[in-house]
Amino acid sequence: MSQYAFYILSALSVASALMTVFNRKPVYSVLYLIFFFFTLFGHYILLNAQFLAAVHLIVYAGAIMVLFLFIIMMLNLNKEVEPNKSIVAKFAAVISGGLLMIVVVSAMKGVDAAAINQHSEIGLVETLGSVLYNKYMLPFEMVSVLFLTAIVGAVMLGKKEIK
């Protein structure tokens, strides 16, 4: 049962990733990317990583994609005026992506194929919270500094003229 769910979710995520890349209109790319994030949400649920699933949905689908959509609509970029790359460059892009895939896939030949534990307890909020607030306390605080820097940077970059 969960195996079929995994295969269906994987097919959907690969298809939506391809549509994100090869769609001509940026708004459709964003919508397919949102769909891709929802399929990843399903993958996290399959892995029983409930906390990550919730954070993924809130951060990516809720915040980041809204930002993308907002920027595209604000700049009014949903036209097909994007000048295409030359055929040679497109072929080179696809071929180098495919070559990288061949390298990575062949690098994991002979990997020890252990089964995923679908009832693991480590993805629950309780476990992750205790690890996050004990072992990773300092990085967690550093993330807040990073966000402060990002806020200041975005505001400075967004100003019309910097005195």
């Binding site: 969960s2 195996q3 995994f6 994987s10 995520s13 690969v14 990733a17 994100t20 890349v21 940026p26 891709f36 990843l40 993958h43 399959l46 892995l47 029983n48 990550l52 954070v55 951060v59 990516y60 980041i64 930002l67 993308f68 920027i71 604000m74 700049l75 970029l77 994007e82 000048p83 295409n84 790359k85 080179a92 892009a93 696809v94 180098s96 992506g97 495919g98 990288l100 895939m101 990575v104 896939v105 994991m108 194929a113 252990a114 089964a115 995923i116 534990n117 679908q118 480590i122 476990t127 992750l128 690890v131 996050l132 993330v143 990073l146 966000f147 990002a150 940077g153 975005a154 970059l157």
Partner: protein, 102 residues
Amino acid sequence: MAAINIDHYLLLSAVLFCIGVAGVLFRRNAIVIFMCIELMLNSVNLLLTSFSNQHNDPSGQIFVFFIMAVAAAEVAVGLAILVMIYRNAKSVDIDFFNKLKE
């Protein structure tokens, strides 16, 4: 119940990452290139989660949490830079920005 092996997740993440790399090389719209970078980050997130599940170690999922935080900050600053560039150049075409190399 048939179990899902870790190599399935490896394969899926590799495919998604390579789609992201191909997208960065393929497109010229800077916003779509940003989205392809998000694609790559998410494939790595999935891989980290599955490895953390397999090794029964919560650290992997904590790393995913930090990657999400960094991605959010990156998108905020990156889109601010894009808006500034658009204001000056009236375009988000990536080939327009190659003046930096001169």
